[in-house]
């Protein structure tokens, strides 16, 4: 996005020579494909693009992109990427993380990157499990989940990644899933085009350790009644020919209703560009498990100063005030005396 002349590339230009090492059938393949297919449309060059990840199956992602990349350490990708983005606002910096990497060990770096609004496109692969370490529960696993580390079922209530992000001042928040490449590409494009931190939760199927976690919502049969497609400026409706809708009560409670019952005009109109994150938060809380109607799309997209730019601006301003730094003047700045 920092390039003036728009480079022409093909998917091949964005694909590295490394063989992809995910389990056959893993949802990660679809996400990789979506990103690789999208890149040429973004009008950016591979050499100006950086993918930073942590550790996890998802975090293997950078190896497969023919860009600059770093497979970091567990949970630290947002911090490392912040260094890249603040040092070089001219680069296009992507963060690839998982529900464990980004929300368990990496939770603090994630929320602080969002707070600062560092110019990062953050893709969180949420499979509600620790894949790479062979199937322990994660901070997004449901209560009662039986895993290697919870033989009697987990007693940890999960995070809702979107509310964590919104609670941390995120300026762009969206959700998509690994089965719909078109939707992924659309969301990724808008996340990329947003200046500042963009946070995208991707429902991703781990077919080895948590297969079908999202089937009740994203499977072809379920989609129509279970996926709520959020579009800015549009009434929030879903279900067969939009018979269901969302309304906000004066008591401050969001409800799902039959449009027929309340009338079209009562239906809440989505406003993704609103400064106040209250509505986005309420929408993020609309579904409380993986078996109820769940909103997808862009929940929030507001302009806030990009942190790296702001840091750079201060440098420019001081330089223009004080002129470029003069080392020998600096050494004399606390007063000196001569010895003959």
């Amino acid at each position: 996005m920092s390039d003036t002349i728009v480079p022409v590339t093909t998917k091949k230009d964005w694909t590295s020579d490394q063989e992809v090492r995910w389990c056959p059938g893993c949802g990660d393949y679809g996400i990789l494909l979506a990103v690789q297919q999208l890149m040429p449309d973004l009008g950016i060059a591979p050499e100006n693009t950086v993918f930073i990840s942590g550790i996890g199956c998802s975090s293997r992602f950078p190896y497969y992109m023919n860009t600059y990349g770093m497979h970091g350490i567990h949970g630290r990708a947002p911090a490392i990427a912040t260094g890249v983005a603040v040092a070089r606002p001219d680069l296009d910096v992507w963060v690839i993380t998982g529900d464990g990497d980004g929300l368990s060990i990496g939770g603090n770096h994630l929320i602080h990157a969002l707070r600062r609004n560092v110019n990062l496109t953050i893709l969180l692969f949420n499979n509600r499990i620790y894949g790479l370490t062979k199937g322990q529960y994660s901070p997004t696993s449901e209560v009662g989940k039986v895993t290697k580390s919870t033989p009697f079922g987990s007693v940890d209530p999960p995070f809702n990644p979107l509310s964590v992000a919104l609670g941390a001042e995120a300026s762009f928040v969206a959700r998509t899933h690994d089965l719909d490449r078109k939707h992924m590409m659309d969301i990724f494009r808008r996340a990329h085009d947003h200046r500042g931190s963009s946070f995208v939760e991707i429902f991703q199927n781990c077919n080895v350790f948590n297969d079908g976690a999202f089937d009740d919502i994203t499977s072809r049969q379920a989609r129509e009644e279970m996926m709520i497609d959020l579009r800015h400026g549009q009434p929030i409706r879903f279900g067969a020919d939009g018979h269901k809708g969302v309304v906000m009560g004066t008591d401050g409670l969001l409800r799902i209703v039959e449009v027929a019952d309340v009338g079209e005009d009562a239906i809440l109109v989505h406003d993704a560009y609103r400064d106040d994150p209250g509505l986005a938060f309420a929408l993020a809380r609309l579904s409380h498990d993986d078996h109820s109607a769940t909103p997808f799309g862009v929940f929030r997209s507001v302009d806030r100063p990009d942190y790296g730019m702001a840091v750079g601006r201060q440098l420019a301003e001081t330089s223009s005030k004080k002129g470029p730094g003069d080392l020998s003047a600096l050494l004399r700045s606390n007063g000196t005396w001569q010895v003959a």
Binding site: S16, Q18, A45, P46, E47, N48, T49, V50, I52, I55, P62, Y63, M65, N66, T67, Y68, G69, M70, H71, G72, I73, R76, A79, I80, A81, T82, G83, V84, A85, V86, A87, R88, D90, L91, N108, H109, H112, V311, G312, Q314, L315, T318, S319, K321, K322, G323, P324, G325, L327, S328, L330, L331, R332, N334, G335, T336, W337, Q338, V339, A340
Partner: protein, 631 residues
């Protein structure tokens, strides 16, 4: 503003008593945290510096922002030695102690040399003050001060009287009493008043406060002039120091400036990722001021993020730096290990303080050598450099950057609370003479396949330095991925084969070991030829060792001294040098960490001299240690 103040009074006065010339004096200002002792000491120091004395300082303050007023825990003090000859330490025992309250007296009297001069603010010795300090009886009235030359000065009331005409309320006037003390001591040691008056004029924006301080200062000065309480007045002549332009500098500022310089010399923007921690915070503060040098500073959410950001910036082509103290070094360990694996340049600066855990956050110690050298999982070697004095921090920072950049490796630079906060005169280097430490970025493919096609191999090493190419984002066609998993030698792809891992572990170790050939050899000073004992020092023990070696040699003992700046890898000739001497003594502000290293390397029976008290060695302690070892 200056003309407003009463300075002119003195100008009209007769020159005043003739001052007796002395070669050196150790002055210690002690008072409540709220009494501004650090400021007072700083002023006295810089006036003496500009006057041309050699000097060395030791500020000490409590870990609390402000411990309860009047308690021993709340005492803040500042010790400075000024001299007419080359010195390196703040002095073992103060020759004069200025005690602003009973707590200060209680805390510091023990340090005053016998028959030393004791100046107390007698106004501060009321019932409650004495109680707060834990005095049952008033030391001024009982005989607990015999053996000292006591001068009682009612500083508070005198200040109040002097400032009253200006309309300063007594409560506010009290806040100026440290300037009264400064004026008095300035008179006592014949310090020029000009600079301080000027400084006060510039420093204090509030008119009344400015006037009040200036007046108090003058009043103190005049008090010395008029009172009969002082038999003598002294002067410490300027020191014969090498010709040049000098500034008085603290270790943290010198280190910050060294980092700015390193960026300029490397032609790279500096990126500091840091999380505040005593006693390192001032480096962050100082660097934050110099944005026009292209220095970016980010206050991270924690130490792990701080080093992660610095590493990210390094990957992006900046001079990545992170500053911290012991607890932060521990937290950064995992990321430092990643940096070792990524082989990217990175500076990790550790201003050591008392440990373990939170320990003594405002006191000095040098017990992080082990964690610096050994504190990472797996085989993760990296170079470690130690600054030895406040001014040396400048040079040390540049040297650390040089090695980090040339060898593409994280480097740990060790400073400590003593040199970080202490200050000394520094002869400014000629900027033009500073080394060029810039390194080229990779710009082209570096490997040709059999079929003639070319590739970029991120781990194809320079045969000499064993450094890998540094190809930064934005460079066309050199796109590549790096990570913490083991990498195939050359290509850099993930590789788990046994042979390759062995090769990479060996290569990483060889690269660091090889740096030994790129640093100055160890040189012994003193009785190089025929010494009966060699003192091996590193870091801030330099000052005390220097003084102790001089004194013991003056007393006829045969002593040699080797001081290390590069503590890992060690100079290749160190073993041979040390083996020349029948005894090797290693003074350290820890339990003997470097001592173990030389024992393991050279199988010599080096003996440790250990002090872990949150304070630097006194030269006396080391004199005794050297003498003891020779018995």
């Amino acid at each position: 503003m200056r003309e407003e103040v009463a300075m002119t009074d003195t100008a009209e006065r007769p020159a005043g008593r003739e001052a007796e010339s002395i070669t050196r004096v150790v002055v210690r200002f002690a008072g409540d945290s709220g009494d501004g002792m650090q400021l007072t000491g700083d002023r006295f120091t810089s006036v003496s510096a500009t006057f041309g004395n050699d000097l060395s300082t030791l500020p000490e303050y409590p870990a609390e922002i402000r411990a309860p007023a009047g308690t021993v825990n709340g005492v803040s003090s500042f010790q400075v030695q000024i001299s007419d000859h080359d010195i390196t330490t703040p002095g073992d025992e103060p020759s004069v102690l200025i005690a602003m309250n009973p707590a200060a007296l209680k805390a510091d009297l023990g340090r005053l040399e016998s028959h030393g001069l004791l100046i107390v603010n007698s106004d501060a010795f009321g019932e409650r003050d004495l109680a707060k300090a834990g005095y049952a009886a008033n030391p001024l009235t009982d005989d607990s001060l015999v053996g000292y030359r006591v001068v009682e000065v009612p500083m508070t009331s005198l200040t109040q009287k002097a400032t009253e005409p200006l309309g300063v309320k007594p409560r506010d006037a009290e806040r100026s009493k440290n300037f009264f003390a400064l004026g008095l001591v300035s008179w006592l040691y014949s310090r020029p008043t000009e600079p301080t008056v000027q400084w006060i004029a510039e420093r204090f924006k509030d008119d009344l406060v400015r006037l009040s301080n200036a007046t108090a200062f003058t009043a103190g000065y005049n008090f010395g002039e008029t009172t009969e309480q002082f038999e003598h007045r002294f002067v410490v002549k300027p020191a014969r120091m090498p010709a040049g332009e000098y500034t008085n500098i603290s270790g943290n500022v010198a280190l910050a400036w060294g980092l700015v310089a390193a960026g300029q010399l490397a032609k790279l923007p500096v990126f500091l990722g840091s999380y505040p921690i005593t006693p390192a915070s001032d480096i962050l503060h100082e660097l934050s001021k110099h944005k026009h040098f292209g220095v970016r500073t980010v206050q991270a959410e924690d130490e792990i993020a701080a080093v992660g950001m610095a590493l990210g910036a390094a990957f992006a082509g900046h001079l990545g730096v992170t500053t911290t103290s012991g607890p932060g070094v521990a937290l950064k360990s995992e990321t430092t290990s990643l940096a070792v694996s990524l082989e990217l340049p990175l500076l990790i600066i550790d201003v050591q303080r008392g440990g373990p855990s939170t320990g003594l956050p405002t006191k000095t110690e040098a017990a992080d050598l082990n964690i610096a050298i050994y504190g990472r999982h797996g085989e993760a070697p990296l170079p470690v450099i130690a600054a030895y004095s406040p001014a040396h921090c400048f040079e040390a920072a540049i040297e650390a950057a040089r090695i980090a950049l040339k060898y593409r490796t994280p480097v740990i630079l060790l400073s400590d609370g003593y040199i970080a906060n202490g200050s000394e005169p520094w002869r400014l280097p000629d900027v033009a003479s500073l080394p060029d430490i810039s390194v080229p970025f990779a710009t082209e493919m570096n490997h040709t396949n059999d079929d003639g096609t070319t590739e970029f191999w991120p781990y194809l090493r320079d045969p000499e330095t064993l450094a890998r190419p540094w190809a930064i984002p934005g460079t066309p066609s050199l796109m590549h991925r790096v990570g913490g998993l083991e990498k195939q030698d050359g290509r850099g792809d993930i590789n788990y084969t046994p042979e390759n891992h062995q090769r990479m572990v060996t290569l990483r170790a060889a690269k660091i070991a090889g740096i030994a050939n790129d640093i100055p050899p160890a040189v012994a000073v003193g009785d190089v030829e025929d010494a009966d004992i060699c003192v091996l020092g590193w870091g801030s023990t330099w000052a005390a060792i220097d003084a102790a070696v001089q004194r013991t040699r003056r007393r006829g003992l045969k002593v040699a001294w080797v001081h290390l700046t590069h503590v890992n890898p060690l100079p290749p000739n160190l073993g041979d040098v040390l083996k020349r001497y029948p005894r090797v003594l290693v003074p350290e502000l820890n339990l003997g960490q470097m001592c173990r290293i030389v024992r393991a390397n050279y199988l010599i029976d080096a003996k440790s001299v250990s002090k872990v008290q949150g304070l630097p060695f006194t030269s006396r302690e080391l004199e005794d240690a050297i003498e003891g070892a020779l018995q």
